[in-house]
Structure formats: C-alpha cells, structure tokens
C-alpha cells in the first residue's frame, strides 16, 4: 500500500516537474481558456448598446428610459417617424419602437429590418428583459412576472456553461497529450513494467491532470472576470469542488478515449469535433429548455450538461440538483476508468 502510494506520488511529481518545464503549454492552455471565456462568452451574450430608435415625441411611454437602463440598447429618439424608418433601412438603428401617440391607444409597434433572425432574436431578448425586470415601473399595458428573479446578466449566464466546456477541453487535451506522449516516447513502458505500475499510472495521471487543468481554469476565470465583467459568485468552495469533479470526470473519459484512439492526431481531432457537438447539445450556448426535444434528451445523457448545471448553481445561484449532478459525473468517471483499464490491460504493448 505504502509502495503504491509512493509510486503514485513519484508519477505525480514527475508529471508536475515536466509540466513546469513546458511553460509554453501552460501559457497556451491558459490563453485558450481566457479567449474562450472572454470572446466566446461575450459573443454568445450578444451585443450591448444596440442602436434602438424610439418614436415617442410626446413621451407617452417611459420605454426609452427603461431600454437605456438595460445597457442592451442605446436609444435614439426620433420626432419624425419617416426619418426613423429611413435610418432603420440604412442600418443606423437596428429596431424602431413606434409608440402610438393616441392617448386612447397605448400600443407599441416594434419594427426591425427583418433580414436577420438572430438580430431580431437579440432585440426580442432585450425587450423581454425590459418587460420582465421592470414590470413594476414600465408604463405599458403588459404585465409580467418571474418566479425566481435573477440578478445576473446574460454575460454572467454564459460563464458557467463555458467553464463546463473548458473542463472538457482542458482535461481532455491535457490528459490526451500527457498519456499519449508517454506512449510515443516509450517512457510509458518504464512505468507499467514495474509491479502495479499501470494502476499507479492511471491514478497518478488522472489526479495530476485534474489538478493541472483545474489550476488553468481557475487562473483563466480570475484573469477574465474583472476584465470582461462577469460574476464568479460567492460560493468559492462550491466552485472548487465543482471544477475538480468536472475535471476529474473529463480526465477519466479522456483516458478512455486516449486508450481507444492511441495517436495524438486522431485523439485531438476527435476530441475537438466531439467538444463542439457537446457544447451545442449540452445547453452551454442555448438553454436546454430552448432546444428541440430530441436534443433535450441527448443533453440529459451527456456529462457536460450536468457539469454546466452544477457550475450554474455554484456561480449564479440558480436551482441545481447537486446530488444528481455529482452522482452522474461520478458514474461517468467510473465508466471512463473501467473502459480505459480494460483497454490498457488488453493491449499494453501496442500502445
């Protein structure tokens, strides 16, 4: 037992030593995480200060004030409806709210250019945000309410999902490179040809990669949060636990994939393609509830959905089923380890 522990410790020490002597790998993986969180997160969160025209010369509604407050829109007031429509046509504004000036008719007509459904969707989302958050003060005949009023922006909402996705990317790539590199360099045999070496290698590699990849993610989140401006919440212990468990799960699954795919080229290609598919299907970009029904069923199968659910819970405070999430992530981890272990015992020399 003591010898096994020393073996594991030796491999962990060696891996960390190698890691520190490859600073480029550390820097590039941190940079990747920073870029994904900031650029992808910002893009997915949508535009801010969208030029929005408002035709309400008599100030019948207080729509302009409310739209400005969301920071999603930058309101341009018009006294001339035709001029506003002309600006909409030329793209100076992307939407126009035509507030009826008839005291007996309190309707509002929203006009968009109509060429781009994604732009329309962003406008709708922004308007919905105004209508749901500000219902008490909005001088419009729309009455809305939310069951769980949230205090985070769309940008905040994107971060936990991206953190779950980054767990997949960082753990998968780190484990793949670390393990397949040992095979390529033939040093893998030095480890497995010691008594119980294979078992120690599996334990040590999964632990090391979990710690290394988690460190990179935490660093990236800490760098990006103040720069880009999103919340990491206040549940830091929860964030640490959630990161470690998610990383561990994807490390174990990465090990299984590495044993199956065997070469860096095929492994990298497969993990990258699968990662994109998982990101879309696991509710990272679009909430699961807003996806087609068959995709919702798929999402419930994959671990990234549960990792994202847990991250959302600890960062945003949204209701999350932690026990279910942890249980499923652990089940996936065990599956990955068993699969890898089976393959490694079957075909050690060919690796």
């Amino acid at each position: 037992m003591n010898r096994d522990f020393n073996q594991i410790l030796a491999i962990v020490n060696k891996d960390i030593l190698q890691w520190t002597r490859r600073p480029l790998y550390f820097v590039s993986s941190t940079l990747l995480a920073v870029l994904i969180i900031s650029i992808v997160g910002n893009t997915l969160a949508g535009a801010v200060k969208i030029p929005f025209g408002l035709f309400d010369p008599s100030a019948v509604s207080d729509l302009g004030k409310n739209l400005n407050e969301t920071k999603k829109f930058e309101v341009h007031n018009y006294d001339d409806l035709e001029k506003a429509k002309a600006d909409l046509t030329t793209g100076k504004i992307v939407a126009l709210a035509n507030v009826s000036q008839d005291a007996l008719d309190d309707s509002v007509q929203i006009i968009t250019e109509g060429h781009n459904p994604l732009v329309d969707q962003q406008i709708s989302m922004g308007l919905l945000s105004v209508l749901t958050q500000k219902d008490s003060s909005l001088n419009l005949p729309i009455h809305s309410a939310v069951l769980f009023p949230v205090k985070f922006s769309l940008r905040d909402y994107m971060t936990p999902g991206l953190a779950a996705y980054l767990c997949y990317v960082l753990a998968g790539m780190n484990l793949g490179f670390s393990w397949i590199y040992e095979w390529m360099e033939k040093t893998y045999r030095q480890i497995i040809l010691t008594p119980n070496g294979l078992r120690s290698a599996i334990i040590a590699k999964t632990l090391t990669v979990t710690i290394e990849a988690s460190t990179v993610l935490w660093l990236a989140l800490c760098i990006t949060a103040p720069l880009v401006g999103f919340t990491l919440g206040s549940n830091f212990l929860g964030l640490v636990g959630c990161t470690l468990l998610s990383m561990f799960t994807f490390t174990c699954l990465g090990l299984g994939a590495a044993c199956l795919l065997k070469t860096i080229r095929i492994y990298t290609m497969t993990i990258s393609i699968a990662g994109v598919a998982l990101m879309f299907v696991s509710g990272i970009i679009i909430p699961v509830e807003a996806m087609p029904r068959w995709e919702q069923s798929c999402a419930l199968f994959f671990p990234m959905f549960y990792a994202a659910d847990a991250f959302k819970g600890v960062i945003l405070g949204t209701p999350a089923n932690y026990l279910r999430d942890a249980g499923i992530l652990i089940a996936w981890s065990i599956s990955g380890l068993c699969f890898a272990s089976f393959l490694l015992h079957q075909q050690k020399a060919s690796l």
């Binding site: 020393n6 073996q7 030796a10 002597r21 045999r189 079957q346 020399a349």
Partner: protein
C-alpha cells in the same frame, strides 16, 4: 552436429522451474517459454516458440525484421498477452503472476525511453521511486550507474540535450537500476555509431560477467557472435536453429568471404586467365563483381586463414593486380540460415556455401 531446436526439452525445463517467487538462483532457467504463440487475426507472428535461457547466460535471438523477435520480447515482458503457451521468468509464471514477474527483469527496447525534460539524475530517481528502492540504496545505485555510463558530469543536464549514444546509455542505466536478475535487450544498438555500439557491447559483457541473465535480440550476426553464449535464429516466429557460439561459428566461417577491390579496369577474359592461375584449392571459390570491381574469395577456417591470405597476396603481386581495399565480409542472415540448416560437409573444405553477393567493406584493412 546439426542444430535444429525442435527437440528442445520443453517439458523437462518447465518442471525444473522453481516455484519460489522470482528466485533465479533456484531455477535452472532464468527465462523459459513453452509453446508460446501470438496471433494477429489470421496471421501467426510467433509460432509455438520454445526457449530456455540458463541463469547467467547471454542468449542472442537473431532474426530479420519481422521474424518475431520484438513480439517474443513483448510477451516475455508481460507487455503482450500470448495467444497460447506460457512462460516463466525466474520461476514465476509470467501470465498468472505478471505483477510479481515485473520486478525481476529490466528491459531495454529499440527506442530510447527517457524523459527529455528531466535530467539524467531525475530520470533515474524517478525509476528508483517507481521500483520502491530505499532512498540510500537508490542514491548509491544512481551514482554508480551514472559513473559506469560515463554520465556523472551530465547528471544534472536535461536528457533531451544528450546525444543518441548518451540517451541509450541512460536507458540502459534505467533498466539496471533495480538490479534485475534478467535483462531483455531488444536491438539495443540499432541506430548507434560504431563507438557507441562498442560501449554497449562492453556494458553487456560486464553484465553477463556479473551474473545477469540477458536475452538479446539483434539482426547483427557479428553482435550475436561477439557477445552471446548461445544463439537462436528465429524465422517466421519459430526458433529454427539454436546452438552455442562455437557450434555456430564453426559453420558460419565457411560462408564468410575475403573481398578485394581492385584498381583500374581489367578485361573479364584477362582477369579470368589470371584467376585460372590460382592454386587448385581456389577453384570455384572466387567471384568477380564487375559493378563493384571486387574479387571475393570464400574465407577458409581459422587455421588456414594466414596461409590462404598469403597465397592471395602473392597471386595479386605476381599478376600485377593492384587493389585499394581488402576486407572480410559477413554473410547475411539468409546465408547463415542456409548454411546452418544444410547437412554438414567435410569441415576442412570451406567452399560448400555461396559467397555473399553483398560484400560490405565494414572492416577495411587498407
């Protein structure tokens, strides 16, 4: 004495393997393989291979690429599961007691297996920790092995900065760190320059003298002949010939040749006239390769070598044939195999075997 190995006393050897855990001193054979097979789909790469290597012996497994050497080593080192058969290392069943077996042997593969980002010392220290060697003993072993490998001055240099020969030495040191009783060496000198190869040979001889059992695979006949106590020739996954060095050397000598590269162009008919003037013992023993401008003479037994050389040199002088190079050449494995599996002839007559067409001036005496 013909040397087919099909009569290897497999059953007897199997019975003599000690049941003691990894105690080579209590076994007659350090390595014993019994009807070992490996199939890849329909292809049988190792075919009922039987092998016994005595304790303290250096056994060379000689074979061409694809003969099954590496697959055999992979099975004997527990890296590859045999399709059939079994094997024993120091009395331990390599299949049923794989984990216990691992501690008793070391392996040096064809590839350099060291961590490029670690120093020589860190590489060895890591291996020592993997094997659970106590700290004090580990430091002693590392110091000794570094010194023996000539790497003491480079102990704190990154292994990635080493030359190929130095990296190979470090790989061998790694394999020896835990003082294995059995060492598997899979073509350890492939890709090394002559000086580095000689250093590896020196190390191997030292290890054999210290009682380590070594199974060496190679496709260099010269290497096997120089180092091994016994040689087995493997073809298509079977050991087809096996014997001691003396037994094999006796046979191989007949198919070695002496090659002389002559200068200038000599018309073939004129050269043939000159060759006809050679003593009768050379009849049918001389070949001329016009492409390489080389004359090849079948190499005689040791006892006649000086006399024959003298005659050849005299003939060259008398016939005014000038030459630039003078070398002995090694037969290739195919020729060795043919020679060793043919029925024996009169030992005093050296010319029953074909002279190699592939004369290489590796040993240039000019």
């Amino acid at each position: 004495m013909s040397l087919p190995v099909h009569q290897i006393e497999v059953v007897k050897n199997k019975m003599s393997v000690s049941k003691d855990a990894g105690n080579c001193s209590q076994s007659e054979f350090a390595i014993s393989a019994v009807n070992l097979c490996k199939n890849y789909g329909e292809a049988r790469v190792v075919d009922n291979l039987n092998l016994n290597v005595k304790v303290g012996e250096l056994y060379a497994l000689l074979g061409d690429n694809g003969a099954g050497k590496t697959t055999t080593i992979s099975m004997l080192t527990t890296l590859l599961k045999p399709s059939a058969g079994e094997f024993f290392i120091c009395g331990l069943n390599g299949i049923k007691q794989a984990e216990k077996t691992k501690g008793s042997f070391g392996i040096v593969s064809q590839d350099i297996a060291i961590y490029q980002e670690l120093t020589a010392f860190e590489n060895l220290w890591f291996i020592a920790q993997l094997h659970g060697i106590p700290r004090k003993r580990a430091l002693e072993r590392i110091e000794m092995l570094l010194e023996h490998s000539g790497l003491t001055d480079k102990a704190n240099h990154l292994a990635g900065t080493f030359s190929g020969g130095m990296q190979r030495k470090l790989t061998i040191a790694s394999a020896l760190l835990h003082e294995p009783k059995v060492l598997f060496m899979d073509e350890p000198t492939v890709g090394l320059d002559p000086a580095a190869r000689r250093q590896i040979w020196h190390t191997l001889k030292g290890l054999r003298n210290s009682g380590v059992t070594i199974l060496l695979t190679t496709h260099y006949l010269e290497e096997a002949e120089l180092l091994a106590d016994r040689i087995g020739i493997i073809r298509q996954g079977k050991i087809v010939v096996e014997g001691t060095i003396d037994e094999l050397r006796h046979k191989i000598q007949g198919i070695r040749s002496i090659a002389i590269r002559i200068t200038g162009e000599v018309a073939p008919d004129i050269l043939q006239n000159k060759i006809d003037k050679l003593p009768g013992r050379f009849s049918n023993q001389v070949k001329f390769d016009p492409l390489r401008n080389t004359l090849s003479f079948a190499q005689p037994k040791d006892s006649q070598l000086v006399k024959i050389l003298h005659e050849i040199l005299n003939w060259l002088e008398q016939e005014k044939i000038s030459f630039t190079r003078f070398a002995t050449s090694e037969p290739n494995l195919e020729e060795v195999f043919m020679a060793l599996t043919l029925e024996p002839h009169d030992d005093d007559e050296p010319g029953h075997f074909p002279i190699s067409d592939d004369v290489q001036f590796e040993h240039d005496y000019t």
